[in-house]
Amino acid sequence: MAVAPSSSNALLQSSDEAVIQFEDVRIGFAEGEVLRDLSFTARLRETLILLGETGTGKTLTLKLAAGLMRPDSGNVQVLGKQISTLQEHDLLEFRRQVGFVFQEGALFDSLTVGENVAYRLTEDAVAEEEIESRVREVLKFVELEHTMDMLPSELSGGMRRRVSIARALVNHPPIVLYDSPTAGLDPITSQTIITLILRLRDVYGVTALLATHRLQDGFALANFLFDPATRKVQRVTPGSSDSAAMTRFLVLKDGKVYFEGSPEEILHSKDPYLQRFLI
């Protein structure tokens, strides 16, 4: 599949450049403070796995990164913009550069699959012929081209997630945020979704935040890569510097970063809390 780098991707040259940066972010609700001084950085083409139990603020972190919520304090910088201080009008423009895959897909239930995927292009008044070809392209990417005229209610849970991924990548965003993309899915469908995320990373070179409570999702992304030339998923060569090696774990606990490191570090950690995820 041809890679069409977005303008934002073209602007981001150095892999050391921070694409997503959280600095001392705090946010709370009626139930109390959820995130307390959360700080982390995701660099270009990096995949950051946000691991944590339910209620640790994974989804909240993604929504803050997408500018869907504002922190009580601290800074959220994405693609060089301080989004925590942007006005709603500017945020709408900013969000066009970010793909967001919601936990349950969040597809528009009154629109067909094709219309859902085409939504952002239609909003941008792209020519109909181009919309048609781009929608087919991304639906082919997620292997759901045949569902174009179906309604979301006619799809299975896994198919809905795949359509959601297609919708998120239709305008080739440099950043994709995944909110528990495998939650509630059977192991085989989960594997299909992870393979899709893996292909998206290795074909489009997106920077990603992936919230999950399943450690195996992170290890799959860290240990495998998709070779666009052979169109096959391969195991990563130890010591390589390819995209799979740019997968890091960020474990959230009590609203803070409890652990940040490579898959090997989390795998060999003696910490009792981290070991709970390894069981």
Partner: protein, 280 residues
Amino acid sequence: MNETPTQVVEQRIGPAETPSVYEVLLDVGKQSVYKVQEYAKLSLRSLTNLASAPRYGQDTIAQMDDIGVGSLPIVLLSGFFIGAVMVLQTGAQFERFGQSSLTGDVVSLALVRELGPSITGLLVAGRCASGIASELGSMQVTEQVDAMRAMGTDPSRKLVSPRVLASLLTVPLLTTISVFVGLIGGMVASVFSLRLNAFTFWQRAIAILHVSDLMQGLSKSVVYGFILATVGCYHGLNVRGGTQGVGRATTQAVVVSSVMIIVADTFLTKLALFLADKLF
């Protein structure tokens, strides 16, 4: 933007000790003021959005079809029978004084100034404010509104403004149709019940009307249209608590919009009568 720091500030957990009655009342007061403020902001934005692009013409037409054409059967039916029952009620009183020919005057004035806009407003509020609240509420709980925002679309432009504009345009039209059908209903009732001449009824019903009466009726219907659409949208977009929350929002939308229509009616009537004295 949802749940900004300023929006959650008043929801923060207070000190562990039991709050006093004064604190509870103060909190309730603050929440009420906050809700009114948010409603006012959404209502204002729904109008200011119309002044700039992007505008959603197709969505507006679809909403006009839903609100206008969809409400037509109930408006026609209720309008006809309200006109008829008005004649039956007033005609009986006028007959006592041998003035049954005045029935047309009274029914016409009542329908144009008051009953047409109010009954139409309440009926459309019952049908559409609930529909809007449940539709937007369902979208809210299934994260479709967030998905829209995540894709760079302003929900107030895409979801609220088309509904408000459609309602502003269709409720006055529905009111006009309702009044016309009500007069027909009144005419039919007066012919069969009071043995009045249909032509006399119709002639008196039209002759009694002044421009100020028409202005009063139409201006009321515009305000009612605005109320039912904005209240429906506000409650839909502020749903909390899943499907149960959607049900609650739907009920609240109908109750609040109906009460607001009745309250607004009093003030609008007073204002219209004052302006009629000054201008006409």
